[in-house]
Symmetry: C2
Subunit: 552 residues, 2 copies
């Protein structure tokens, strides 16, 4: 699978989804093109999906939020006759590398979370209307919706057949959402998850697997009624005009990719990528009207989209790059000013959506299994959302004082109100709260510094950066660290970082990315699943998996 | 490693620990016998440990609670001159099977949790006094103590060198306790966990890695003062007489082991073990005095110890047994009466200790990575602590009504007050609360049934059992289920059960057994650690590990 995976798409290129807009309610049809797989070697039968299908879905969810402010409820259903969705394509999984499987699951998980977030944060509620077989990843897609309706036609069902059929877990949040979102009784969950044929009709409702069962004759009208109810609860604006998400301007080269605000430079020998984000060059738009007119060209929206795409590109196409080094260049006061317009206008749907996008992008960085470093250098602009990068990384290095021959501004961090609540991590805390879990008074001390240009000494004494070095030591210290980090086992780094980054409370999200994903990754290494006689490999051959019977 | 591992020991057989009792303060010395390894092929140099060393520690912690009610603080230190503890023995780990590594970590984790529980629940506080190198599992042992004092002699240090040195995680709770118990700032934790040489002196205190640093000259007096302070906070009784934990009466056979109250029958073809617990035969002791006189012979204490040993035996010696089938036989009213004496006398240290032991044993069952089933048959006594077994299992089958030709009492479950708070799971909830997370009113409904003999129909309608079958269907239904379960991939079962059993809140314990353990298990499968050129395998050869550089 050496092909470069592109996470950018647009409606003109969709092969697997159709969407119909009818005022406040949209109808989204999953209608996967069998021959439209991202790679060779499998057909996407029975509405099964691969990463390409999910990239389109993620694009739809994103565009709904920005381009269709009027939509309040989305009814998700199948575009095919007798099947809702058979889940992730098994042949694709069977043939994929470990790294592709893991990153495929991570991205689909993030898309499911985005679906939930759209309802919870943004008043765009997804309702899932199931007719036909809804199995595995298909049911996990339903689980991510705010409401599930199942038709009671004697055949339609929901199922998580992964364990009995494939000897792997339902890895896109299925187990966690069954126990923690739908709160299915654990013994019933055990029965459900070990039953290939799933559960249908009233029992699915009794077991809390779906919210409602409707007879076939009343299915359409029930869905319509529920969609109207969800729409009525939404506070989406009525007359707002959407912002078109124009194609990103990107130039790929052998060793990186350049966007308008983000530059990725890959050093393959050092196994690292430098990601440099340029702050805004223009003044803050005078009003939300002006910002709306800028649309996707405005710095805050553009930089978030570009950063997101850069991270996804590195995650899925550059497996040997173990370190992401975040740098910024620009005017911190201008970054803060652009953010302030959004904060001051949070009641405006577009300001809100841009802030929420930054929240998602920053979460995606937290969840990226590469070592993350911030270099806070002269001329940098780690302020507001960009300051979050300095708190998202595993450690940060800050340049202290003037650097010989460097006429850029002395390095300074700048906190804004945004750093104290707008960009929570998956654990529900801000990055500063997580950082100062043992010393909550430090979060309060940092709050008193909002607006100040915090140079290295002060930033370090506030606990905001890990190390500060002057220009005598800077280069050596940073180089030694980067070299050392690159010498460690990538797997040990992945495990260590996954544990150290998320102190404090757990949420459904952290459980999905922590517990569930880690177990799935383990299983994705085990011969019982992926060996030549494993169940995943043998699927479709007519042979069952042969298992090593030892428990561990 | 085909040898049978025995979890029973006593002070006369200790090879690795010494303990000195001085009234309310005990001094525990780790002094590992290099040649006392549990298996061939490694020497336990530098106070490194294997499972055998930890079995002794677990025995000490248990005996302190029962045999030494007067002890309020335990000072844990090294019996060797220049090293505190080098952690788990690397050669042992390098040579061990995956299953042994995983179960070794699980048991040591449970022992660390027992250390913490002794302080939190029982007023026996562990203080760790570190002189010399304290690395890896050595520091994880310190982390499980209530207080850590480090001598500031310029050499003594604490370290978690697993990641840089061995390419594995600190797997005995280290990462989790660093972030969530000691709340070390995440970037400092990152530095600490990727630094082979660790941290010493004042920096260890500044980084929250230890509670106090004392100069060598004042080390002994500081420890003594802190131990007195912890002892002063304890509410352990002053004049109580301990209960000696007499050796368990056991008879091992090829296909099981028989205790006085617990019988384990292994069916190797079916890959299952039936564990039958016999309820008490004698009346409840008339008073706590009478119970104290019975000592370890009393049913509640005896049954808990026997059940615990049976579980440990199956976990560590019977890897191909994938299903544990719990059965009981006896008088449920008598089980409830024996428990009631303890509940009515919770202020009595011994009653409290017996209840807390049941809590630990039941948690050990929750954490056992085998499929768990309860068969609630005629003549059974699933009441109080034994009813918890029916809620700990993945699913339960209950016999409905009279069984032809069976003159035992009709199967009935009996709830007691104990089921509503005395035996919380690792997630901090009772098993009933966890079970009814989505329907908390059901927990309240169950509470109104305390004391009633709940036959199958009622138990099922209350949601307390998964299935109920009469004697026409019972045998086939149970057989079909057991056969089906045994046919599934053991790995998929492990992952599924680890996810479904612990809905609801997360605690440090669930994070250790969920997130941390799952990532460690994954790493324990990865060639970067355990392959021929992996860091764990190569340790001690003078060669560094060679790594596949791809991130996943």
């Amino acid at each position: 699978m050496g092909k470069v995976i592109d996470f950018q798409t647009d409606p003109s290129r969709y092969r697997h989804w159709r969407i119909a807009y009818n005022g406040e309610i949209a109808h989204l049809y999953m209608d996967v093109d069998e021959s439209g797989g991202l790679f060779e070697g499998y057909e996407l039968k029975l509405n099964s999906y691969d990463l390409g299908v999910d990239i389109e879905l993620a694009d739809i969810v994103q565009r709904l939020r920005f381009e269709h402010p009027e939509v309040k409820a989305i009814v998700l259903q199948s575009g095919k006759e007798r099947v809702f969705c058979a889940g992730a394509n098994i042949r694709m999984l069977g043939g994929a590398t470990h790294a592709h499987k893991v990153n495929f699951c991570k991205f689909t998980n993030e898309t499911r979370n985005a679906l939930e977030a759209a309802g919870a944060e943004s008043g765009q509620h997804y309702l899932c209307a199931i007719k036909g077989a809804c199995a595995g990843g298909g049911y996990e897609l339903a689980l991510a919706c705010d409401y599930i309706i199942l038709t009671d036609d004697g055949a339609s069902n929901v199922a998580l057949p992964e364990v009995p059929l494939l000897a792997v877990l339902p890895g896109t949040g299925g187990l966690t959402r069954v126990t923690d979102k739908r709160k299915v009784r654990r013994d019933l969950a055990d029965v459900f998850c070990s039953t290939e044929e799933g559960v249908k009709g009233k029992r699915a409702k009794e077991w809390r697997l779906v919210d409602e069962v409707a007879p076939n004759s009343k299915f359409a009208e029930t869905i319509a009624a529920r969609a109207r109810e969800f729409a009525a609860r939404s506070n989406r604006p009525i007359d707002a005009k959407g912002v078109t998400l124009a194609p990103l301007q990107r130039t790929f080269s052998d060793n990186g990719v350049a966007y308008s605000t983000v530059e990725v430079e890959i050093d393959r020998n050092a196994r690292l990528a430098k990601i440099t984000i340029a702050g805004p060059e223009d003044d803050t738009p005078a009003s939300m009207e002006a910002l709306s007119t800028q649309g996707a060209a405005g710095w805050t929206l553009r930089a978030a989209r570009e950063l997101d795409d850069a991270i996804l590109h590195l995650r899925n196409n550059e497996f040997e790059i173990g370190l992401l080094v975040f740098r910024t260049q620009g005017d911190p006061a201008l970054v803060a000013a652009h953010e302030k317009l959004l904060i001051d206008n949070r009641n405006h749907w577009l300001a809100n959506e841009i802030l929420l996008l930054w929240k998602r992008v920053l979460k995606r960085i937290d969840l990226t299994s590469r070592s993350l470093v911030a270099l806070i250098e002269p001329g940098s602009c780690f302020a507001g959302p960009l300051a979050e990068l300095a708190f998202a990384v595993d450690r940060s290095y800050m340049a202290e004082g003037e650097f010989d021959g460097d006429n850029r501004a002395i390095a300074a961090l700048a906190l804004t109100e945004g750093n104290f609540g707008l960009y929570p991590m998956s654990n529900g805390l801000t990055r500063l709260q997580t950082r100062f879990l043992g010393e909550p008074e430090r979060t309060e001390a940092a709050r008193t510094k909002i607006g100040a240009a915090l140079e290295a000494e002060e930033a370090k004494s506030l606990g905001l950066v890990t190390f500060a070095f002057d220009d005598v030591d800077w280069e050596d210290e940073v180089r030694i660290f980067l070299e050392e980090r690159a010498s460690f086992s990538p797997d040990a780094m992945t495990g260590m970082e996954a544990n150290l980054r998320f102190a404090g409370p757990e949420t459904m999200e952290t459980r999905i990315f922590g517990r569930l994903t880690a177990w799935q990754n383990w299983i994705f290494q085990r011969p019982n699943a992926v060996g030549e006689s494993g169940a995943l490999k043998r699927y479709g051959t007519g042979l069952r998996g042969e298992f090593d019977r030892r428990r561990v």
